[in-house]
Assembly symmetry: C2
Homo-oligomer: 465 residues x 2
């Protein structure tokens, strides 16, 4: 299977074949969202909006540009980003007094304003999110949806009156990820990153990682507990019930277009992309099988089926192009449409339609009179099975090891004493990265794989993108 053997070549090829992104824009790492790719991304965004609206987050949109003076207020944060930011130095023919940077993330855009928005405990919790593009000057090799310089980005930012309430927010985020993963059919693990890999300015960071077909993990997003690190720098305080002014506790949650990249990588095959129905721009494509003598009847039947599908709320497409059916099949397989309906004279005679699953699991004739309920069931079934397939594959590539000699590809779980030196030793010996302690892991009792000391802390280790 080419995907397994040569993922690095396979991945951009299936994206190009499906026309999800055009990388011929004259700036490296800044790609064009084509109509088809953008539709998929908007469906992905739609579920994020649903989840964050339902949990009382307000959508906002903050300016893109950040004054250098604001950016520099949190010392760790600026250090984490200074190699990565794009600088605006001129406007028209004028040189700016204060340089402006393109947001790489919006802490430093939002927090000076949060200081104005938050006055008393009655203003808390403050929960906002935005879906915007952010900019990072990547020096590593770029790759569509996975590593780009203009990134389609989701970020939520919350302020709380206590550490405990901020922790509850993080728990809410963990639940949101679980629900989203089912819509995207993306299995994942959550790991609390080690100290040396936490986000610039965070007290701790939870990474959301998904396993790619190469055995490497891809970080899909992250959740950060900031405690009062930013609120002290940006003076975001509230008056508590006793009249005291206190800094707020903050969290953030970020995800990006990598969600789409991961879906492509996890579910695609040698025919191309394979979209989970919930985020497929087209869920069902209708292809007429025309033969002499029945053309009009077949065309009419296809029209009728197409309109029924649309009315039933499915994202349907009727392919009336002047091409052979085989060419059409090839195109829609490359584009990852979950269900194909073929209608020819035989189907009409049998009062049926032929239904083919993109994942190759079945090709059936379905009676026309209960087509719609069958198609809806099938769409749900594909969604469930794609999730299960993804989880199975990730499970098969996650290994508990007790010696580094057992180290193979995929995600390795092992004991770690918690000492940074042993952590680095693991990384050095395996050439892998410590993802961190899995969130909510089962009770564990083992030994540090390096020093042999008893530990109750397992960690996940993997090669990463």
């Amino acid at each position: 299977m080419r995907k397994r053997e040569d993922f690095i070549e396979w991945y951009p090829e299936v994206i190009e074949k499906a026309n999800l992104s055009d990388k011929r824009y004259p700036i490296k790492g800044m790609n064009i969202w084509t109509p088809y790719g953008w539709k998929a991304m908007k469906l992905i965004d739609g579920f994020i909006r649903r989840e964050f609206d339902a949990t009382d987050h307000d959508e906002v949109c903050f300016p893109l540009l950040i004054p250098e003076t604001e950016f520099k207020k949190e010392a760790d944060h600026i250090k984490g980003f200074e190699e990565w930011v794009y600088w605006v130095t001129h406007a028209g023919t004028t040189e700016l007094d204060v340089r402006l940077l393109l947001r790489p993330t919006s802490e430093t855009a939002m927090y000076p304003v949060f200081a104005l928005w938050v006055r008393s405990h009655a203003d808390l919790p403050l929960k906002v999110y935005q879906i915007v593009n952010v900019f990072r000057y990547e020096t590593k090799q770029t790759r569509a949806f996975m590593r780009v310089r203009e990134i389609h980005f989701f970020e939520s930012h919350t302020c709380h009156d206590s550490f405990e309430d901020a922790e509850r927010q993080i728990q809410e985020n963990v639940e949101i990820i679980e629900r989203l993963s089912k819509e995207y059919c993306l299995p994942y693990i959550l790991c609390k990153r080690p100290e040396w890999d936490k986000f610039a300015g965070a007290a701790y960071t939870i990474g959301i990682d998904s396993l790619m077909p190469t055995g490497r993990t891809l970080q899909l997003g992250s959740i950060h507990q900031y405690k009062t690190n930013f609120s002290e720098a940006y003076n975001i305080t509230y008056e508590d019930e006793s009249g005291q002014h206190k800094p707020v506790h903050q969290t953030t949650f970020g995800m990006a277009e990598r969600l789409l990249g991961a879906v492509i990588a996890v579910h695609g095959d040698d025919k191309g992309v394979m979209f989970p129905p919930q985020i497929a721009p087209i869920q069902v494509v209708v292809v007429p099988i025309l033969a002499k003598g029945s053309k009009t009847a077949v065309k009419n039947e296809c029209q009728e089926v197409y309109h029924e599908l649309k009315e039933a709320g499915l994202r349907a497409h009727l392919d009336e192009r002047d091409l052979r059916p085989g060419n059409k099949f090839y195109d829609w397989e490359a584009k990852g449409v979950p269900v194909r309906i073929e209608i020819g004279n035989q189907d009409i005679q049998a009062k049926a339609v032929t239904v083919v699953r993109r994942d190759g699991e079945s090709k059936d004739m379905i009676q026309r009179n209960h087509m719609m309920s069958k198609i809806k069931d099938l769409v749900n079934q594909i969604q469930t099975e794609m999730m299960e397939r993804g989880e199975r594959e990730m499970g098969e590539n996650t290994h508990l090891v007790t010696s580094l000699d057992e180290a193979k590809t995929g995600i390795l779980m092992m004991g770690w004493c918690g000492e940074e030196s042993c952590g680095h030793e693991i990384e050095d010996q395996t050439g892998m990265s410590v993802l961190g302690e899995p969130v909510g892991h089962e009770e564990y009792s083992g030994k540090c794989i390096i020093c042999g000391n008893d530990t109750k802390t397992p960690i996940c280790v993997a090669k990463t993108y």
Copy 2:
């Protein structure tokens, strides 16, 4: 009425009272979209998407940054924008070889790529749009939604195989504007701009202007016929059926957050903003009128009414804050919610609810058992009446004049011979701007208001923002 007497003070005040935008961001002219303002803008965008999706435009998203080398290919265009653009000169600690600019509009981002997308007549028409933020370094005084430096922007771009097909596109755009104006309750005029005021690079420009309460017009958007001006510079050619390579004909259509600014300006009053129901973030607010002895019954009834409204698909809100009803009324009037439902013990006894229109046109008790159909009718009626009110007001302030002595405030229509010198003379004598010849105007026969020559061309003239 303060709005009429002192629009310049009134306008930012009602925006602040309604909390539609926060201008305390530390960069002038770059404002924060608050949750309430952003909801309104997304509703406005939603109708744009509906219209452009329905007319076979594909939504895309092009990169924000444009290389200086691409930007400079169309000479007039760069001249029109060079004072206005923000320049990225550094990334990380590296000085860039080619400076990058933040898009002020996307012609020069899209057209090098259109040259790759368009090969043959079968690829035409190419019709795409995007809703993104653009950047213009405004030196005039900034004003929320009307003149800002980061602009929430809609732009469609089309390529055609002939001038005639491009003209049909412009006609389609004219029809789209007519439909949108009814959703936004925004009366407008379309004028073909005089030569000296057309868009940089356009063959001609049609401006979409709305009349503000001050008697000045505000340009809401514009449509451009480019002919082959850009396609020749960017080498966007197609192979016609005879195998010849020809440059495509292009059009664009742009609108921006000014739509929201115009709605505020046209429909607001001294109590605050007034939203047309179709774009109101909250269409109906339910306010409990609590009195001793009936609190629980009233609260329950309010909950029930609120849920019925939501289920009926209305954007409803239940105001359960611990405030006096009068304070709540004040808030929701400021925020422009079209319909308020008050429920107190009296209403419950009468099996009714009290329904108050934001525009002050009525306050009625409506029987509970046919509340929902009445509310829906009322919402539609308000929408229609707001449009009518706007149109009446614009009509009353549009005057046909035959001598510049008659010149007053509002939109003036007069004869013009078409000579640029007479046009400038009109501008000089009136201190107003020539908006141009009204699109699709009735047959006209008059004299040029300056030179007295016979003419069949009327023009509109107004003070503008």
